[in-house]
Amino acid sequence: MMSEPFVNAKDVRLLARIAQLPLDPERESRLADLLSAWLPDANALSAKMAAPEFREVLPITLFAHPDHREEGQ
């Protein structure tokens, strides 16, 4: 028996509507296949990072501190 894909074309349509991203119907199934390959691993990583040992971990994201002199301070 075939298992249900993690993401199907209908899910993609909904997500694209929320993102206001126009998509041709033929692209929905291709995106569903791609996201079905990616998202289980992304969710597993999210679950790992939700463990208590990582509670204090901050994301590595760029927060630029401009040169104060350039800002005239």
């Binding site: 993102a19 791609l34 996201l35 691993d41 990583l45 990072m49 971990v57 590595i60 760029l62 350039e70």
Partner: protein, 474 residues
């Protein structure tokens, strides 16, 4: 058509060509003319360049020749032909990033790295082909042609800086700049049999470079020898107020330690990750390289990693979400102007959750802490640059283990992801060939802002081997 004399000149390393120009032994005009003849000879088949600055390069070469004759040498790259990946801005020259969307874009200003190359006397001969917007590892470009591997033109050259890799391997220039987000300098370096360096994140300015993923993007040198990469890095490294992510850490002297050898150095390996899922010939070549380094006085330390699994997913999430943010408007207004593969990846990046992106960014902090801590016990890590050798152009699946085809994009990121996510520097060095005559590369990963040590080890390895001296038959 290039001549026998051209071959002699073009086989020189960048360092040797630079020295020859400095003492008046070779004219920059002869160097550029030879490079352009070679470029003309190979580019039709290999599609390595999008744009060639033949007239401008010769004009600059004549000025360069006059300066040398008058006793003025601008710097270490004076009179040396160099190529740039076409996502790096050159003032008033079309800079496409391998896309149709930017095919008419002429930047008003050079990228910082372009300025710095020019200020040390480099002569830019052209802009190299690439994976569209750097979002992919094959350089199979739908707008400017698929870049082809000079060791076997039916195979891919890696990417996204595939054109730069081919340009260097085929001796159409003495060095090139690529950009590396998830591996885009190191992959084409390994696959084309050359050396490529991903610097520490922030070491080299990204100002004037079309971004892929802001939190991972770097610009890196590609050349045939480690010494040449060191010279190129020296020219472009350093703080830049135009780039908010630019680091202010002091710039090392990258050529000072090239002859120090490897005696006493501790090489870290993670056997159950870095050698667990590789084509046999790739694994053997890298193990043999490590053995050679231990014969020369280094020691191997096995390291366990709790967190390296998961790095591919984190890369895919970040590399999908950040480009889709940058491309938001074009993806809605001009979707048909993208190649099919890049459009699909950009669309996918729109559909990820913010929490998945941020968890991936938190994971990076954990992975970085683990590697930085391990690098207190070892001096560097060594692993394959990628787990397989070049596959046929157009393939989207690869067999690392016989009978088990897998997704190319995930497979190609397997080992390059650790430096990309952690911001650590990494050097790819040629370390062998498979039974088809296709190059194999090993990756050296080091401490933040310690590119010198990687270059020292890479140079020691090249002094003991000759893989980097072979040239493709094309």
């Amino acid at each position: 058509m290039s001549t026998a004399d051209d071959n002699d000149v073009l086989n020189l390393s960048l360092a040797a060509a630079s020295r020859a120009v400095a003492i008046g032994e070779i004219s920059p005009v002869d160097l550029v003319a030879a490079a352009l003849r070679r470029l003309d000879e190979v580019n039709g088949e290999l599609c390595a360049y999008i744009d060639v600055y033949a007239e401008q390069a010769l004009q600059v070469a004549r000025a360069s020749e006059s300066l040398i004759a008058a006793g003025h040498r601008l710097g270490a790259l004076h009179g040396v032909p160099i190529s740039l990946k076409d996502n790096i801005a050159v003032e008033n020259q079309v800079t496409t990033a391998g896309s149709r969307i930017l095919r008419d874009w002429r930047p008003a200003q050079d990228a910082t790295v372009t300025q710095r190359l020019r200020s040390t006397g480099a002569i830019i001969v052209g802009k190299t082909n690439m994976h569209e917007f750097a979002w992919g590892g094959t350089s199979d470009n739908p707008h400017y042609g698929a870049v082809r591997n000079p060791w076997d033109s039916s195979r891919f050259p890696g990417g996204s800086s595939g054109g730069s890799g081919v340009a260097v391997a085929t001796r159409t220039c003495f060095g090139a700049l690529g950009t590396d987000t998830g591996g885009s300098v190191r992959l084409p370096s390994a696959i084309n049999g050359i050396v490529g360096l991903r610097p520490t994140y922030g070491r080299v300015s990204n100002a004037g470079v079309i971004p892929l993923a802001w939190s991972m993007d770097t610009v890196g040198p590609m050349a045939r020898t480690v010494e040449d990469c060191a010279i190129l890095l020296q020219a472009v490294a350093g703080h830049d107020s135009r780039d908010p992510a630019s680091a202010s850490a002091a710039v090392q002297d990258y050529t000072a330690d090239l002859n120090r050898g490897v005696k006493g150095l501790r090489i870290g390996v993670i056997p159950d990750y870095f050698f667990a899922h590789v084509q046999p010939q790739v694994g053997i070549a890298v193990q043999q390289a490590i053995s050679l380094l231990t014969d020369a006085g280094a020691t191997v330390v096995e390291v366990a990693s709790r967190h390296v699994e998961g790095n591919i997913s984190a890369q895919l999430t970040i590399e999908a979400a950040e480009p889709s943010t940058y491309h938001h408007e074009w993806l809605r207004q001009r979707p048909a102007d993208y190649g099919d593969d890049v459009r699909l990846l950009l669309e996918a990046g729109e559909l990820l959750l913010a929490t998945q992106y941020l968890q991936a960014q938190r994971y990076r902090a954990v992975l970085r802490a683990e590697f930085v801590d391990a690098l207190k016990r070892v001096d560097l890590f060594i692993c394959p640059t990628l787990p397989f050798t070049a596959t046929p152009v157009g393939d989207v699946l690869v067999e690392i283990e016989a009978g088990a085809p897998e997704d190319m994009l995930s497979a190609i990121m397997q080992f390059t992801g650790v430096p990309s996510l952690t911001g650590l520097p990494a050097l790819s060095v040629p370390c062998g060939f498979d039974d088809h005559g296709l190059p194999i590369g090993m990756q050296l990963i080091g401490r933040p802002f310690d590119e010198s040590l990687l270059l020292q080890v890479g140079a020691a390895y090249q002094a003991m081997t000759s893989f980097h001296l072979r040239r493709p038959g094309v």
